[in-house]
Amino acid sequence: MSSASLNVEIRRIRELAPGIREFSLSRTDGEDFPVYSGGSHIVLSLPLGDRPHRNPYSLLGDPTVRDTWRVAVRKQEESRGGSRWLHEQAREGMRIDISAPVNLFPLIRTGRRHILVAGGIGITPILSQARELARLGADFEVHYAYRGPEFGVFSNELEALAPGRVHHYVQSRREQIEFGSLLAGRPLGTHFYICGPAGMVAASMNAGKSLGWPESHLHSEQFLAPTGGEPFDVKLALSGKAFTVPSDLSLLEAIEQQGVDAPYLCRGGACGQCELEVLGAEGELIHHDLYLSADERASGKKIMPCVSRLKGGCLTLNL
């Protein structure tokens, strides 16, 4: 099951900070967008050369504004083309396809208190979550960390949502979130949500666990960008295709390029939707995903083709 798509026009591009751009999107059919829940993302299909390149971005606008959706994109240093295209090629008036929203980072509505933490561009899902909590009149606070004062691009919107409950941490001023103290002594029923760089997410999860937080109350979102790697050969047992995955495509992208409809949702190693059964692997499976358990990896029977690869000869998949 791949995602339903909507065609949109880029209505407005705003330069928020060096390397950060915001895009406002409207439907080309004139209809309203559906409502979405805080923490949802969409997948943008970007016209890179002869193939669409699909990247997930969180929706950050106000879900009650149904004629415009907003996403903010940071230019990745090691971009495979998606964020670079959005920063260098995208123009107002261009049309692209996007998927329907999916929420892999939902708020827990039974929570009594919510602590939201954003690192850098990780503010995007946190902003829509804060919006939802403000609308619900929930008890919440936001902790927003960024490199320098000019990178706190959504500070004003956040302050308007949660006056007095937003805490800023500016790296250039040597301010840093101390997760040990942030998470200590919180009442039962508190939920913690973080979106940010891998190291920051890991530090917060470790702090929570060592303080005895139940895992079910610690929530994080982190999409991994597919990394390149060595080329390898693939056989698809059901569709009878055989091809080589080049170094600059993910396995999922290479499968799509063969015209085979493969399931996906997040395209960032997080959701598990694209899981494929490995029938044979001549070589070592290189798992980059956040989804499979250690046992599942050890079994050698599963792979998440959006981010993972094979090192060696040929991979045979049940597809």
Partner: protein, 347 residues
């Protein structure tokens, strides 16, 4: 209006419920083959053929007015059949919006929805309702939004909250269930409320179904059929009213099988809800008596074979044991042993 309603029929006491010829023809007969076993038989809930029960997101048929009156009677006797936990208010509005949008789109001659920002006006011609209200403000409706809209929609409804990689039955309007209780299941997780189902756990059916549902997308609902049998065309076969309908199981005789024994088919659909990220589970029930089904001998033959090969655990779970032999005897008259092609359509 395009549907000829049967507003006076009853689902209790004198049981005057009957299906028209057209309603029998569109009955969602669930057996593709001569044997039944559980499977994750889900498919996209996309628009089906005109006239079929799959034509629209929520099916309205000739029994609409009578079913809604039966629901009102049951709620009057037992208001606990509609439950919603406090954190489900967004999901309640999601449900109201989804149903109002669907019905007004699919049955424009019967239902209309006029929207001016959050000022909405809902018109339900079959039930003679016109209601102006403010979307998001429960005080502007005569009852909470979920109860309001499900008092006007055929079928039972559960809203599930998604958290902890699981689904919790945190709201429900259940007045026509096949012997299960919302009061018992409210707040339970997916595996908990499927606990009593035999055989399917061993097959891993629920594990696969849950994994599939957790990834359900907005705008891409899915559906499946489920079935059981009911004595008399009774909607309220809840555990709470068991003393009223339980003894009917012993009332089946060779003479009354055709009228009394009903195949009960549930068209179950699941919709991802946008605001709340919850999931609406609709259970739309259809009842057809053995006499009605046997107007298509192909269905009678197939049902005979399905029942005669049904594992005992399933017959027990579905509560058929007591009247199964009598029903099989009756159906055997129709079964000449002809090899039936796969498929569910009537001839």
């Amino acid at each position: 209006m395009s549907i000829a309603f049967k507003p006076d029929e009853t689902f209790r006491d004198d049981y005057t419920y009957r299906n028209s010829l057209a309603a029998i023809r569109r009955f969602p007969f669930p057996f593709h083959q001569d044997q039944y076993m559980y499977s994750v038989n889900m498919e996209p809930h996309t628009k089906g053929p005109a006239g079929s029960v799959f034509e629209n997101a929520f099916d309205i048929d000739e029994h609409y007015i009578a079913e809604m009156r039966d629901r009102a009677i049951t709620l009057e006797r037992d208001p606990g059949r509609c439950v919603s936990l406090p954190h489900m208010m967004d999901a309640e509005w999601d449900t109201l919006e989804l149903i109002m949008e669907s019905l007004s789109r699919d049955y424009p001659d019967m239902f209309t929805l006029a929207r001016d920002g959050t000022r909405w006006t809902w018109t339900n011609k079959p039930l003679g309702i016109e209601q102006a209200f403010t979307f998001g403000d429960a005080a502007t409706l005569p009852c909470p939004p979920f109860e309001y809209i499900t008092r006007q929609t055929q079928g039972d409804f559960v809203i599930m909250d998604q958290r902890d990689n699981d689904l919790f039955a945190d709201a429900g309007m259940i007045t026509s269930q096949a012997d299960w209780s919302l009061m018992f299941d409210a707040g339970m997780s997916f595996m908990e409320w499927h606990g009593p189902v035999p055989l399917a756990h061993e097959l891993g059916v629920f594990e696969r179904a849950l994994k599939y549902l957790l990834m359900l997308q907005q705008g891409r609902p899915v559906r499946r059929l489920n079935w059981t049998m009911t004595i008399n065309p009774r909607l309220d076969t809840s555990p709470e009213t068991y003393p009223e309908w339980g003894p009917d199981r012993a009332s089946v005789t060779p003479d009354n099988v055709g009228d009394k024994v009903h195949l009960r088919v549930e068209l179950q659909a699941l919709f991802r809800l946008p605001r709340s990220n919850g999931m609406l589970f609709s259970i739309r029930g259809y009842l057809a008596s053995m006499n009605e089904l046997a107007t298509y001998p192909r269905w009678a033959k197939r049902l005979h074979r399905v029942l005669s090969t049904l594992p005992n655990e399933l017959a027990e779970y579905k509560g058929l044991v007591r009247y199964k032999p009598t029903t099989l005897d009756w159906l055997s008259k129709f079964d000449d042993g002809e090899v039936l092609p796969a498929g569910t359509q009537p001839e």
